[in-house]
Symmetry: D3
């Protein structure tokens, strides 16, 4: 039988600004426009975690979505929710918190906690109209 | 030209409980928690059927979505809608009606009715936050 | 200053069937069709609670949505979520669990817990296409 | 003929923290919990503006939604979008930017710009699950 | 007991252009811009019909949503779905098919078919961001 | 590091009818039913453009979504929005504007404008329930 994928959606609310500390203020303003404004803005981020693998014939689950939900809450929401990504999250001290980079950081936080025989993919909605997927 | 995929979304309302008849009551309660409560609960299931293949140059269709909608209604909704999956659907007499297993059953019901040269994939939403995809 | 309304949305998953115990089986089948099927079906109910009143100048709140969320969870979700409304909820032992009646029962559960100087209104979505509001 | 209401939905992304400058740090933390964290968090705010009045028989409009959209962009989004409400918006220098207060401020910004014979109402979504309406 | 409101949502796909036949081409272009382009454009209209009244103690319904759905299909969708509102619907031969006017026409089609002791209200979504309500 | 995908969603409102000019009126009516009605109908089309590639370490972007949004507006919305696809868009003079063919045309308009080292995929929603993806 083919693999099956399970998805769990969670959300967090965070402040951020797009800013690469290795660039000058002018370069940052030129690249990121109003997303670079100094006092931050924010989003209701929606994160969808996809775990794909074989069905466990005893449970009928690939992974229990309650387990997956708890894992996302502990590893991601505890770190990010109601926080300022640039100031409060160590990973973004030197890394620009674009949707792409946030998705990669979430992937790296969750990958060691998910059975290595399962595939993992992160979809992150920054707004309803802008979202990213990693790995593609 | 590459293949193109057509999606059709339908929904059904059904009762179920998570329960593996091969396990004891204690084991079921331990594995499935409140999803195992004896008198059932239910969901507004959303099913998205994806059919991928070559474009028919006469119609401009891969498959007519009206045909696909009718097929889903006849093969899936007629069996599942306003039913108790555990009690009313023969496939779940011995199979635990997790979202994963429901998606596999829907796939197996539709696969013989869809042209074998077309790819078929099922996405099933149990809630807005929990959903599965088969094959992954 | 005019009153302001605060809304909090929660959801629960429950089984039910439409059935008036005071009527015959034939009358129930005639009135409620497939919604009367004996083994129940179910829904992802979305409940939106509206509390309207004056703004508290200290907090800037009419009511703290965390307080309101906790209240809905304790009074409504604890009773209804993952339950069979007809079998598990005393209010529906003799009352047909239509969306209308469920909304009235939710209103009556919450009304004594909300400050009497505040207005209360319940909107209940049975599906995305069918919903009710009480009081109108 | 009765009045008719026209609604226009716009959105903005902003940072904020709940904080009443007239209270102590301990009182603010006690009242607002993680919403009071010092480095701000943020939201994708959705604002729905409702204008009700008589139909203009020449245009078939109460108000042109393009006019209304432009007005919301100029008066609200220009001030709030990609901003920190506490730091960048003068109205919230001393006013706690709860959803309730943001809705009142939006109302007060738009009311002088909308024909006085029309009714005005603001609905503001802070998240999909928390929203407010002014006047109620 | 207070009244209760029942809502049913249906949709139809139609072409239209905004055009007041009593005005000149220049006046129409000035008032309606690209909505006046001669070859029509179109929308997925969502119509939400609200019927408010007393609860029937036998059924637990204000009105059966299946009855309401059938009524909307017969009176509205049969006339409007997959049609050109300007060319195919007699009411819009001389009336500009703005969202406001479409909502009024739907109200007038349904009002005689709904029990006069019930209140009736129409909400019409032209897009997710533009919608109207009649009566307000 | 794996590739990452960026998605941008835009929408346009257009009229169309399904009609293959190479077939007779009877054949067209038989194949396309009410979608072939002569005076057109229309849709709120949602188009989601997916660009996948390597992350730029300077910007933290695969592609700036503002750039992508502007590109979709210039290449797609300028041609399609508030237009009649059959009459106003040269590509559909001889090509039936099914969702499948519209997605292919959008792909062909955007492919030369997107860096050739990036993957491109189009998802087009004709309605909430009918959508297509190209390439599959």
């Amino acid at each position: 039988m083919s693999k099956i994928a399970v998805y769990r959606k969670e959300h967090f609310n965070a402040a951020h600004r797009l800013h690469n500390p290795a660039l000058s203020a002018e370069e940052n303003a030129g690249l990121f426009g109003k997303c670079n404004l100094p006092n931050y803005h924010g989003h209701n981020y929606e994160v969808i975690v996809r775990v794909a693998g074989d069905l466990d014939p005893i449970t009928g689950y690939v992974i229990d979505t309650k387990t997956l939900s708890t894992l996302i809450k502990m590893e991601v929401l505890e770190r990010f929710d109601h926080r300022n990504l640039n100031l409060d999250v160590p990973e973004f001290k030197t890394l620009n918190p674009t949707a792409e980079n946030i998705a990669v950081v979430i992937y790296n936080l969750l990958r060691p906690k998910i059975d290595s025989k399962h595939d993992l993919k992160i979809t992150l909605y920054e707004t309803e109209r802008n979202f990213v997927e990693y790995p593609a």
